[in-house]
Homo-oligomer: 529 residues x 2
């Protein structure tokens, strides 16, 4: 726990102004939440965090990205982006900081032509496709790799936390070298409910939660006192930043902490609190209309927005410069870092000879990685050697901070038996401009079938968004296809991943084929992307 | 810890006869493991557990299934199945308990026509397709649901434990009602290595592991003393059974324990221990051949098998009757439990009227579930209500033991935001003969694309295996297709799951289509299976 109270100059609007109440008891008392209530439930917490991050960035001049995991969380991001002027910067005609812009934001929301209700590539500051839950955390860790000054704050909803991909992504700290990489502040937002069922994490008590995440390797701080939620959250964030700096300072001064215990927060807030019990018929029912009006008026919007513009109270908690704002960090919209080219023809095999294309590819990769020491990584579900890419290990090694032998050695290879983590790390690393490669057996790449499809949606829209710059491709090397099944047999056969890539439009994906033995290694730019 | 030592009448062969050594240090000292070494690594632990389970079944007359998670674990299962005579029972011509059968087992292994190196439907006792790791644990929990006397012992490898699906499957105890369901004894087998990289769990110390799994809700016992591994493992298994019986007794006498802390074991053994450093060229190199011979001879196979038959020493630790043997439990090979039929026409809509087909389906399901109170379940990623199936909740409810409101009420619906858990539960429930339904949005069913494909491989082979009986179908209700996107939009679009089902041969899969409004509810037997 932080020992000193950090003064908050201009406290952001309170999302939860009244006394603490047990989330479960509250919601049970109110009966089941309606669709509107449950989708709204995540937004107050997201905005609360956004407001406090603004202050944190101001206090420490941080480079920060905010990854919003919870489903239907876009309204929170969009409101904050409008307030901080990021929507105005990227959409000056539609969403200016004025009455017209505010009206457009509200009336076009979640209808064709407006912003969708999930975070997507149209959302400034976003490096993550919302909707299909589970990937926010792994993406966040990928983004901070080789970005030593970057901190990604990642909110994981307690619904999303039930997914397998998130459940294993908590282990990602074990692959994060504080000497060369930045840090993630994970915030588990436990508001007690998914759409209509209670959540696992909402029904775990603090002892269970602290035990679980301590086991993962974190220091855990639970923020839950609604009487004093602003101070508590701000102090917790200050504590997280100071813990991160300690770990990084130690590693960067040559004395890395073994198994550093990174900070994480658990934010407990009740879902759908203060929403009127009934408001579905507010369009025709005067009582419901009044209840709705009373509720919305309780936010005192007039103190926050005047004449269609955010007031000084709001603007004073923003970061000092535009590029520090959560919606305008350059790494989120114009991050492209090129690779130094390598003469691939040198790695060809002589005509008439027969060599393993994978062995040759390994040698080419070895050279590419040597020439680009901080801008390329390989993620693999422990199949580097069985895929004959081991030549890559001649000048680099594996990176696994929990293993004393690979700690703090700058290894470029992460081998974790989670295709979801491999894909998530690759996405985060790529969407912040660097290049990643994911080799895997053909049958098991399908494990991330939908992640790949969701990612391609993000990229498709990103290419249509004018203010986003180029992105590197994500690169798979699909191996162990039907022609090379050897001893593994039926369980290792499934060609559907390539089928899914081929379904994507040609401007977004390419699929070159290597024969098992070849007389020429492939040009680097031609892999599946 | 158990207080009394359970005497072991006839100790099974020791897999690890010599002093304890740190797995990491050992393997690092020996250099990287070769493919043979690493694939062999899991088998000693699996056989050790199998042997002790035999004794446990004898001691307590248990109904038990053994689910083997680790990849390339089939040799362990096959050896044990041959020893206990289960291979002879199901394959009398090929794998009898005699010299010819033993020779066939060895020479045909992992070549066309023989058993594969991963567990599959040809393996007696198996209810789980091996190879694609991550699903053993969820399948085990599905199998014990509504099987009050069944215990599934599930070994999860420390490679598999890194997968997302496994990471969230540990939460499955929270959906297990001890009043009506059996229990799982999960054994995390931490041998330190995957194929070539260290594992996360192998590099976590006991404090981290105990903290993590206590947080999940377990009581954890670490078995790691190689000097005395047999006694320690047997005592740990005895303890697990006694804890299970306590929890079940309390629940079944009407006084359920809130948040019961189910037992689990962590078994630490070093991988590839005692294997000669080099044996790849044993066919031509005399030194390597001698090293290989010395190593194999150290197992004193002559004391275990004589004249091609298991000796009395081995047979004396087997369960008393065939049906109690791990390879011959009826629930694993002939489990079919039919459903009482319901007159579906009653739930049709009148000609000329328009009704939601999902609402009608919900009403039909309500009736089906009433008529079959212990043999049908629904698993959903919290989409029951948004999919308009809420009529089902009129006579049953959700089942979530961590929530006081749904504890011990026999709810037939589990809503967990993990498609992997939903699919795994459904597979385990179905492969032990009962019927399950999994409704989900079209775009997110693809999350379990490869699980569904692997399951269909198991079923395809199971239908070809003569000694396996009929199985119920697994049933998806795919909703929110392109025609019903409403506010969710692009992120919720992906029709590829149906495409994957259509790729499966028609004798294994059917896909009927319902229009959003219909004048007839579908006959129950015609859903996607």
């Amino acid at each position: 726990m932080p020992s000193k109270q950090i003064p908050i100059a201009n406290p952001p609007p309170l999302a939860f102004p009244s006394p603490r109440q047990c989330p479960g008891t509250f919601c049970k008392a109110q009966g089941e939440t309606s669709i509107g209530r449950r989708h709204w439930g995540t937004c107050p917490g997201l905005i609360l965090v956004w407001s406090h991050l603004n202050l944190l960035i101001r206090n420490h001049d941080l480079d920060m990205i905010y990854v919003v995991g919870p489903g239907h969380g876009a309204p929170a991001a969009l409101a904050a982006l409008w307030l901080e002027g990021s929507l105005e910067r990227f959409y000056p005609d539609e969403y200016g900081c004025n009455a017209e812009g505010l009206k457009n934001l509200i009336t076009r929301f979640s209808v064709p032509g407006g912003f969708p209700s999930h975070i997507n590539a149209e959302t400034p500051g976003a490096i993550h496709e919302g909707g299909e839950l589970g990937y926010a955390l792994a993406v966040s860790f990928g983004a901070v790799m080789d970005n030593p000054d970057l901190i990604v704050t990642c909110v994981v909803g307690d619904g999303e936390a039930e997914t397998g991909p998130t459940a294993t992504a908590w282990h990602a700290i074990k692959y994060l070298d504080p000497r060369e990489s930045g840090a993630v502040i994970p915030i588990l937002h436990a508001n007690g409910f998914k759409i209509s069922e209670r959540t696992i994490f909402g029904c775990m008590d603090d002892k269970e939660i602290v035990s679980l995440f301590s086991g993962y390797g974190y220091q855990v701080l639970v923020v839950e006192n609604l009487d004093n939620i602003d101070d508590e959250l701000q102090n917790a964030l200050e504590w997280a930043v100071s813990e991160i700096k300690k770990i990084q300072k130690a590693a960067r001064s040559g004395e890395p902490i073994a198994k550093p215990r990174w900070p994480m927060l658990v934010l407990r807030t009740p879902k759908a609190r203060f929403i009127p019990a009934s408001m579905e018929r507010a369009g025709s029912d005067k009582e419901q209309l009044k209840a709705l009006d009373d509720w919305l008026s309780s936010y005192k919007i007039g103190e926050l927005i005047k004449d269609g513009k955010p007031t000084k109270t709001v603007l004073d908690v923003m970061p000092h410069t535009n590029e520090k704002k959560l919606g305008q960090h350059k790494a989120t919209y114009n991050p492209y870092v090129g690779l130094k080219a390598v003469d691939w023809q040198y790695f060809g095999a002589k005509k008439g000879t027969s060599q393993s294309c994978m062995k040759l590819t390994g040698k080419l990769l070895d050279k590419v990685f040597q020439e680009n020491p901080q801008t390329i990584r390989l993620f693999s579900p422990d199949e580097l050697e069985s895929n004959k890419l081991d030549a890559l290990l001649e000048h680099t090694q594996r990176n696994f901070q929990w293993d004393q032998y690979s700690r703090a050695n700058g290894g470029r290879v992460i081998e974790v038996l989670s295709e979801h983590n491999c894909q998530g790390f690759m996405q985060g690393y790529t969407l912040t401009g660097r290049t990643a490669i994911f080799p895997s057996y053909e049958s098991f790449l399908g494990i991330v079938h939908t992640m790949m499809v969701q990612y391609s949606k993000f990229v498709k829209i990103a290419r249509e968004v004018k203010w986003r710059g180029d992105l590197p491709s994500i690169n798979y090397i699909e191996t162990s296809t039907w022609a090379r099944q050897e001893h593994n047999g039926f369980s290792h056969q499934n060609p559907s991943f390539i089928g899914a890539v081929l379904n994507i439009k040609p401007e977004a994906a390419r699929v070159p084929v290597l024969s098992p033995t070849t007389n020429r290694a492939p040009p680097f730019r031609n892999w599946v992307n």
